[in-house]
């Protein structure tokens, strides 16, 4: 495939096709749709972190006037624990127990039952009338407690090394022999780190509206990162065949991985089926915080050994990631990505999936990779210090390049990691002077990026314009980039291209909006569809001119006779050919469905400056530059936006965000006031440098860009704080009380208090 070079629309900051609706309030997000006869669903949630459900009596709730249906685990399809049923990376055994507690309630907020009633207030009242008899069990929240020998065990069926355990699995990535590697090392740094669970923090709570006909035909409006995932999971959990379910993607108000699984849709479907009425469900922010996401908290140890000249000879990482109450930590990202920016002969990375009485984790932007990179990139900073090397030089010396074999398997093709390091090093930011109590840190990061299934349909309208339908919810401007690509190929104004997200009945299967795959994959199917259309257009022009189709070229939105007929005929525009379509073989359109391949991993290198207030312990990021190999920026505005958004999330993770648990095992900060995400006044401008090393396996050179920018941030901030204070931090978040304690030492603080 050729990489397009001379462009009119690719690389342009066009106005997104869905833009006007989003700035005028017209765009319909998940909670914005209503239906005649609609009623409201609410979920009764467990107050306990761990309890056996002995009985559920719904009779009083059902008797309440206005209540139309009550459902509990009895109504959800059971997937017995002894047989795995996978849907993508999700195991339906765990999904069925996550959407509705089955044998046990496993975390505070775990759904126990759901009610549909004529008003939200009645539904909430009915939830209070449901009588649940619990046998409260000992519970466990933190990793160390969960893996202790006498820990309360969440699932009797889960065994590790032959014994009942809260360790749900072990994952290993290995290259060479680390023992041999460390024996060659002249300098070794080994450190341990912890991070806290953080929430994806999308501003739109989960919501859906479901209607089920008497014939089981089901329509779901919801916002998710994949309407096909919604359809499949709802089908699995309700027993309604996929062909009877039409899942319509609403506009999605942020996901970041957290909307790659369902919470409400199956419950609303069961309630709608039972009641015969459309059912709407909308989570409160508190429900979002208690029962959805977050990503894992972690504990890890990383050891890196190098020669005195800075050559890294061995690296080892052990990562314990919290899964929440059901298996499924993002260990793959932690063990697979952490060491991947480097060419290291001996690597061993091991991850453990640790269960405890927390909500089940969901994907969050490069799942697992930021946790691993935080530890690795902080250790590299210490290694550079020990070697008296510039930290970027240390990375440059060991950087992965074309031909490097990554520990997780592949041999890298042409990649742009070195370019990000060079761009960072020569960036004015890197040599700018720093003031008192200010410091600078750097860090790098890698994410796999994904390809996978995508479908597109491109149709030419009768008036010669274009409608493109794809199957991936657009979270951050992908429609704009698709319009750019299609307009480029057809040689027409991008405004003539409408881009829509189809529902499960109107477009072919398309996998999740996740893994930074959407533009990579949809560009391929849209390009192939458009190429087919261009071929048709050329054939039709050839027929009209009575020449060979090979002798027609498509340029600037029109068919032109090429040599030897050049200049003999007037060009035929897209509009003219569209008008002639009925008499020339019919409608013009093409669709392509593919399992796309060739998504190459992405790399980024970040520079962060902080200033520390030693009185209050507040760390402020005062300057930030994120350099990333983006392959090809089809719409630079939204590529920069992905990078800036990732950085902002990372700054929150580094400095403030954390789930705080109280003594009774419940989240104590389930709202935006106490779960402190960065607000506008917390951040500086976030500078981006887009390095473009085109992906040779993609028609436009696209690489995924959305996830890489979160990976390096926490380490970049930690390294900057060290540079400012001369003190290292080994746990996140580096929030004011923690920073003060390190500055003053625990004794000084107590004395002062």
């Amino acid at each position: 495939m050729n990489v397009v070079t001379n462009n009119k629309w690719i690389g342009e900051r066009t106005i997104r096709p869905d833009g006007a609706d989003k700035v005028t309030g017209r765009a319909a997000f998940a909670a914005d749709t209503n239906m005649p006869g609609m009623i409201w669903g609410k979920v009764l949630r467990s107050p306990h972190p761990h309890a056996r459900i002995k009985s559920i009596d719904t009779s009083k709730a059902e008797a309440l006037p206005g209540v139309k249906a009550v459902v509990s685990a009895r109504d959800v399809v059971d997937f017995p624990v002894d047989k795995s049923v996978m849907l993508g990376i999700q195991d339906m055994r765990w999904m069925c127990r996550n959407v509705m507690a089955r044998e046990k309630a496993l975390f505070p907020g775990h759904p126990i039952a759901a009610v549909a009633a004529t008003t939200e207030a009645i539904a909430a009242k009915a939830c209070e009338l449901i009588e649940v008899e619990y046998e409260v069990l000992p519970w466990v929240i933190e990793i160390d407690d969960a893996i202790a020998p006498d820990a309360p065990i969440l699932h009797d069926f889960m065994k590790f090394e032959g014994k009942p355990s809260n360790i749900g699995g072990r994952l290993e990535v290995k290259k060479g022999d680390v023992a041999e590697g460390f024996a060659q090392a002249e300098v070794i740094v080994e450190r341990s780190f912890t991070t806290r669970p953080v929430h994806q923090g999308y501003i739109e709570p989960h919501a859906c509206l479901v209607s089920v006909g008497a014939d089981n035909k089901t329509t779901i409006w919801s916002s998710s990162q994949g309407q096909f995932m919604v359809r499949a999971m709802t089908a699995y959990l309700t027993g309604i065949p996929q062909s009877d379910i039409r899942a319509i993607p609403a506009e999605i108000g942020g996901g970041f991985g957290g909307k790659t699984i369902v919470y409400l849709e199956p419950l609303a479907t069961l309630l709608a089926k039972k009641s015969g009425r459309p059912v709407k469900m909308v989570m409160t922010r508190e429900e979002v915080m208690r029962a959805t996401g977050p990503t894992s908290g972690s504990k890890s140890t990383v050891k890196i050994g190098a020669k005195k000249d800075g050559t890294i000879v061995a690296a080892q990482g052990t990562f314990y990631l919290q899964a929440g109450a059901l298996p499924g930590s993002p260990n793959r990202g932690a063990v697979g990505c952490s060491f991947s920016p480097y060419d290291i002969p001996h690597v061993l990375a091991v991850g453990f999936d640790v269960l405890s009485n927390r909500s089940k984790v969901a994907a969050y932007r490069a799942p697992g990779a930021p946790i691993g990179a935080y530890a690795v990139e902080c250790v590299l900073d210490e290694l550079a210090e020990a070697l008296k090397m510039d930290p970027l030089d240390l990375r440059l010396k060991n950087a992965a390049r074309q031909g490097t074999k990554a520990a997780f398997g592949p041999v890298f093709p042409r990649i742009g990691y070195v370019e990000t390091l060079q761009a960072a090093k020569s960036h004015p930011h890197y040599s700018a002077p720093l003031g008192k109590l200010q410091g600078r840190g750097v860090a790098s990061g890698f994410w796999f990026n994904a390809g996978g299934e995508s479908s597109a349909q491109v149709n030419i309208t009768e008036d010669g314009n274009v409608v493109v339908t794809t199957g991936h919810p657009d979270v951050g401007g992908s429609r704009a980039a698709i319009a750019n690509i299609c307009a480029e190929l057809l040689g027409i104004d991008y405004k003539r291209v409408s881009v829509l997200i189809g529902d499960t009945a109107t477009i072919g299967f398309s996998n999740l909006t996740g893994g930074s795959r959407v533009l990579f994959a949809s560009a391929i199917v849209v390009t192939q569809s458009t190429d087919k259309i261009i071929a048709t257009l050329k054939e039709r022009a050839a027929k009209i001119w009575d020449i060979d189709p090979e002798a027609v070229k498509w340029e600037n939105g029109a068919a032109h006779p090429a040599s030897p007929n050049a200049g003999q005929f007037e060009p035929l525009t897209l509009a003219e050919l569209a008008a002639k379509a009925p008499s020339m073989g019919g409608p013009i359109g093409a669709g392509v469905q593919l399992n796309t391949e060739g998504a190459e991993g992405g790399f980024g290198t970040h520079i962060c400056d902080v200033e520390v207030d030693p009185e209050l312990g507040i760390v402020r990021v005062i300057r930030y530059t994120a350099v990333q190999d983006v392959g090809r920026a089809i719409h630079p505005g939204y590529v920069e936006g992905q990078i800036q958004g990732g950085v902002a999330q990372g700054i929150g993770w580094a400095l403030n965000e954390e789930y705080i648990y109280n003594k009774s095992g419940k989240v104590d900060n389930p709202g935006f006031l106490d779960y402190r995400m960065p607000v506008c006044s917390d951040l500086p401008m976030l500078d981006t440098v887009m390095v473009e090393v085109p992906n040779p396996k993609h028609p436009q050179g696209v690489k995924g860009v959305g996830e890489v920018p979160l990976v390096p941030v926490m380490a970049a901030v930690a390294n900057a704080i060290h540079n400012a204070l001369g003190k290292r931090f080994y746990s996140l978040p580096m929030s004011p009380p923690v920073v003060l304690e390190v500055i003053e030492g625990p004794e000084t603080r107590q004395a002062a208090e």
Binding site: T24, Y202, R285, G476, G645
Partner: protein, 160 residues
């Protein structure tokens, strides 16, 4: 209990609606009034997705009772454009990619408009502190702050 009747003005139009005494203005807007441009991100005054103005004062409609609208004038995102002509802030947000998912955008625009009405030449710091009550999880705020400042510049030039 019977519903309460409220007469108010929304986006310049006289409007009447019925509500429960406990309904918030956001409930009324998104429910009986069908104005779903204002979003609910938290219902606790922490995210700003529900921002509207009440007699030109920026408020979180989730913190205001619907009955408090009686006799006042409200402005929501739906009243920002004039017909098919976007407000300069709306246009600038589009041009500068100052939105990604768009769920915060209504609130951001309403809040930014309220700022520019008070302060036609805000500094970066003033913009950042004014918008500190409007959470955006997607953009990192960079492009939003730039869009507001550029719009302010252009509106001042246009006014001269």
């Amino acid at each position: 209990m019977a519903k309460l009747h409220v007469s108010t003005t929304i986006n310049g139009e006289p409007v009447e609606f019925l509500c429960e005494p406990s309904d918030t203005m956001l409930d009324a807007l998104r429910g009986p009034l069908g104005l779903t441009g204002s979003k609910e991100g938290c219902a606790s005054g922490d995210c700003g997705a529900c921002s509207i103005t009440l007699d030109d004062r920026l408020v979180c409609s989730c913190l205001m009772l619907a009955v408090e609208a009686e006799g006042h004038a409200l402005q929501t995102i739906e009243g920002m454009a004039h017909g098919d002509k976007l407000h300069p802030l709306q246009q600038k947000f589009l041009e500068m990619a100052a939105l990604q998912c768009g769920i915060c955008t209504s609130g951001m625009l309403v809040a930014s408009d309220a700022l520019l009405r008070k302060n036609s030449k805000p500094s970066e710091e003033e913009v950042r502190f004014w918008l500190a009550g409007n959470l955006c999880r997607c953009t990192g705020y960079d492009k939003i702050v730039r869009a507001v400042m550029e719009t302010a510049d252009e509106m001042r030039e246009a006014a001269q």
